[in-house]
């Protein structure tokens, strides 16, 4: 034990002991027996006072050791082990455990154990409100149990235990009970109020370490989720075809998920030397669940489009796939069609999606709304095909409701009407120009309010020079 650092109070007490010894020495030399007895009595009192101060100093030394180990130790287990080891010098125990309330707020996990059998079922399956530890979590009050056999809350988790001390640990941040510091002894009446106070101080130190560890893990976890989401976003973006110019068609698409990943997608691919298939689709919901369904829909639609001729049948097959793999209430709206550049026409079917806008050279717009119900909503359905003329100079615009339902701060929506008026000004423009104009207009309309939904646009311009 180090004896160099003494508190002012302790120094004063020690000085008194020394003074009394001096007095005693004088009395002895003078032979005054009555006074010697009185002086001895006073000396004993002073010595006791100093002695107890010395114990306090040992406690303080322990605390500073713990504080030091907090700054040194890396893992939580190391820290708790330091604390419990230090404690063993001051408070006797046969078993010690540090228990932490799980995130569900109902179960309690053993974070550090010493002197217990680790496979004890009662030890690892503790619940808030049950047992001594569970009771302390519930009440937030220290329990000194002099005789566990007489305590109604006691659940035996260890053979030989006769008395117990359980001290709550409080979150330094919120003040809530985050766990329990628990000591068990094979002797009756092993713990005093003073022991409880000392353990409380240590428990507070343990709580800091525990909370720090928990925050650290949460940060690591969040970081990992962010990394995985970023990866998912890259994968999803890579599923979108590159903007291109094919079969005399100028094609430009854009998809902005409101979260890292989304349920919107567009697609296009050539089916022959004159046919280009196009898709605009919106999966119910947002985020990861929508993205998973989206990937499935995209795959099945690509396969069906290449193996089945009839658009109605293609959608029936995709409906079977989506309905059999989705939850009730999940569905996908799909606008699917084929541009035939040799016969100047589009054959399409609209499964519950916002109608595509077909703009001709005169600035007139036709809405492509024929088809059927959304895909996946019901086990069966019929999707009708329609044919519309499509000539050089015409533009097909497909979009999702994230565009028409984009809200401004007043809660007004962009609307299909506004999109139509805007599109009418786009005769003769390239696909990229059209998409950029719409995007800028939507952003200006929403006045920087973040988009609540995924926003996706695809323009297909039949180029004039193509013959």
């Amino acid at each position: 034990m180090r004896r160099f650092f003494r508190s002012v109070e302790e120094q004063a007490l020690l000085r008194r002991v020394v003074n009394r010894l001096d007095t005693l020495e004088q009395l002895f030399t003078q032979g005054q027996h009555e006074e010697i007895l009185q002086a001895l009595e006073k000396l004993r009192a002073s010595f006791d006072a100093w002695n107890s101060a010395d114990i306090e100093r040992q406690h303080n030394e322990l605390l500073s050791e713990v504080a030091l180990s907090l700054s040194r130790a890396i893992g939580l287990e190391d820290i708790l082990s330091h604390i419990v080891e230090g404690l063993a010098k001051l408070v006797p125990f046969d078993a010690a455990g540090v228990f932490i309330v799980e995130r569900d707020g109902k179960t309690i996990a053993a974070e550090y154990l010493r002197g217990y059998r680790r496979d004890s079922y009662e030890l690892v399956h503790q619940k808030v409100g049950e047992g001594i530890v569970g009771r302390v979590v519930e009440t937030g009050k220290t329990m000194i149990v002099n005789d566990v056999s007489q305590n109604p809350y006691y659940i035996a988790a260890r053979k030989g235990t006769r008395s117990e001390l359980a001290v709550p640990m409080f979150s330094p941040a919120s003040g809530e009970v985050i766990g329990v510091f628990n000591l068990e002894s094979n002797n009756l009446n092993a713990y005093t109020v003073e022991d409880a106070e000392l353990v409380s101080t240590l428990a507070a130190n343990a709580a800091v370490a525990i909370e720090r560890e928990q925050i650290y893990h949460r940060l690591i976890y969040q970081q990992r989720i962010q990394e995985e989401l970023a990866l998912a976003r890259r994968i999803q973006q890579s599923l979108l075809p590159a903007n291109t110019n094919v079969l005399g068609l100028d094609i430009y698409g854009l998809s902005i998920p409101s979260e890292q990943v989304g349920g919107d997608y567009y697609d296009f691919f050539t089916l022959s030397h004159k046919d280009l298939a196009f898709v605009m689709s919106d999966v119910v919901g947002k985020g990861i669940p929508a993205a998973i369904i989206m990937a499935g829909v995209r795959g099945s639609l690509r396969v069906e489009a290449r193996t089945t001729y009839s658009i109605g049948q293609i959608l029936e097959h995709v409906n079977n796939f989506v309905h059999s793999t989705s939850q009730p209430g999940e569905f996908v709206t799909i606008h699917y069609g084929v541009v035939d550049v040799a016969n100047f026409q589009i054959t399409y079917s609209n499964a519950g999606h916002n109608p595509a806008m077909l703009l001709n050279k005169q600035g007139e717009i036709q809405l492509l709304s024929q088809g059927g119900v959304p895909i996946g909503a019901f086990p069966e359905g019929k999707w009708t095909e329609s044919i519309v003329p499509f000539h050089p100079g015409d533009t097909l615009l497909l979009y999702t409701d994230g565009v028409t339902e984009a809200e401004n701060p007043k809660g007004q929506m962009f609307t299909a009407k506004r999109l139509m008026s805007l599109l009418q000004t786009c005769v003769g423009k390239s696909a990229k120009e059209i998409i950029q104009i719409i995007q800028q207009e939507v952003v200006a309309f929403t006045e920087g309010k973040s988009f609540a939904d995924d926003m996706t646009l695809l323009a297909i311009v039949f180029e004039e020079q193509h013959r």
Partner: protein, 114 residues
């Protein structure tokens, strides 16, 4: 952004759900779907959903209605949507769900038809 409120009332063998606010998926929507399933489990086969005070439905909200309709039809029951606003009517037309859902201008009429 979710639905602000919903209540359910029984009229004989028909259960009427009164929805209010925005129907945007979310926990309140799942509550309605759950309640419909509970009513079905306890024997109810006829449902009316009053949408007169619903300002907006998004696709997740539609999903809830479709889920409800599917659960009801699976047990041979009926579900009618009542008091559709113009906005919601046009949404059902766009999504072609108007061909699937039976609708009524008033709850009273729905009660006689369901």
């Amino acid at each position: 952004m979710g639905m602000t409120h919903h209540t359910a009332k029984e009229f004989g063998e028909v259960v009427v759900f009164y929805l209010k606010g925005k129907l945007m998926g979310g926990p309140e929507s799942s509550e309605v779907a759950e309640e419909i399933r509970n009513y079905i489990a306890s024997g109810t086969r006829k449902f009316v959903i009053d949408l007169g005070d619903v300002d907006w439905i998004n696709s997740s909200g539609l999903g809830m209605l479709i889920g409800g309709l599917t659960s009801v039809r699976n047990v041979g029951g009926t579900l009618i949507l009542a008091r559709l606003t113009e906005k919601i009517e046009s949404l059902l037309v766009i999504t072609k769900l108007s061909t699937v859902f039976e609708t009524c201008p008033t709850v009273e009429e729905a009660l006689t038809k369901v």
